[in-house]
Symmetry: C2
Subunit: 219 residues, 2 copies
């Protein structure tokens, strides 16, 4: 039987790392988590991702895979039997990849402007942020999950950002919940045990955001 | 037998569109190409890609797929038999996706600063541009193609940008060839008939760049 040595180089506040903690938990894969200090990255991190020098990195039997959506596809391909994330139909797969990329291209950068911005730029970012989630609600439609009746690739790509909602809302004084009712229903559905356990408490993220704002001279 | 109605909404100067013209040609898929006017986008384009409103878009039996790497994977999955682009091994697949994403995240934006920039920013962009291709040469190593003995996903993702080399070099007065010898050898290998036919003449791209610079008030 093939041995599976799985190591995840990660940082607990990273939404990108959370995706992989969720996927590994859903699929019941045992792994060793190594928390990185992003201000003083380990030699292992720099060796395993010399191009981007970023977490998360999955090391499977000594070989590194980088970039969270790429790792998510890898995990889904290698351990496909339990809780498949991407559908088997090529068109449905293309749609899932499209929306996961949409999340990657929009939420992190706009979210950063929401928690770190000031004045007009922050107000603009809040509007854009709500628009992004309205667009995602449009894609969700009347389904329970983005994946349909079962959670899938897009759900796992998106749900980590909900652990940041409290920080976005507190830093920028607005309510995502009040604007995006459908998203809240979806979020409640996502709170099955294995997903919740892989997400940090929103207050822990907020502490991290305050620390970061302090470091950046924004607080 | 399943009917295949394939339409490509495209713009001839787009490196992202070229990827798909190459893939469709390599796989021998007949399709209708519809050239878009990017200053006056068609109602079909806006209907088929309401989120990003961008070419290229592949419409397969009436259903749209957007984002060039996503479309490339879709084409490879639906028409897998002839000239497979992604390898079958999950680790090799993850590496191909990693490098294709690297190309997407780096070349277009840095290339734009090379052809449109001025002074110090342009000099900086030229340096970064060469560094990007040096990194890609490192990945190519001693292989004929990024895909190994046969051209693959990364080769198709990258080769369209070579049709822009003349424009980059002429606008910014430098030589990519002089700095990146390995890349030139690779580029020559790529010039098999079906790839060449899918790429516009470098002078046509240069005319387009001059027109664009004029429109943007840079010429």
């Amino acid at each position: 039987m093939e041995s599976n040595n799985v190591v995840l180089l990660d940082f607990s506040g990273s939404s990108f790392g959370m995706r992989l903690r969720i996927a590994l938990a859903l699929k019941g894969i045992k792994y060793e988590a190594k928390e990185e200090n992003l201000s003083d990255k380990s030699p292992l991190l720099l060796e395993m991702n010399p191009v981007h020098k970023k977490i998360p990195i999955l090391i499977h039997n000594g070989k590194p895979i980088c970039e969270s959506l790429n790792i998510l596809e890898y995990i889904d391909e290698v351990w496909h039997e339990k809780c498949p994330l991407l559908p088997s139909d090529p068109y449905q797969r293309s749609q899932a990849r499209f929306w996961a990329n949409y999340i990657d291209n929009k939420i992190y950068s706009t979210g950063r402007r929401v928690w770190s911005g000031k004045g007009e730029d922050q107000e603009e970012a809040k509007k854009e942020f709500i628009e992004i989630f309205k667009t995602l609600e449009g894609e969700l439609g009347n389904k329970t999950y983005f994946g349909g009746d079962n959670l899938g690739f897009v759900d796992v790509a998106l749900v980590p950002f909900t652990s940041w909602f409290y920080s976005y809302e507190t830093c920028a004084n607005f309510s995502i919940e009040a604007e995006c009712r459908k998203l809240v229903v979806w979020q409640n559905c996502m709170e099955n045990e294995r997903v919740s356990k892989s997400l940090p408490h929103p207050h822990k993220i907020y502490d991290f955001v305050l620390e970061l704002k302090h470091k950046l001279g924004l607080a």
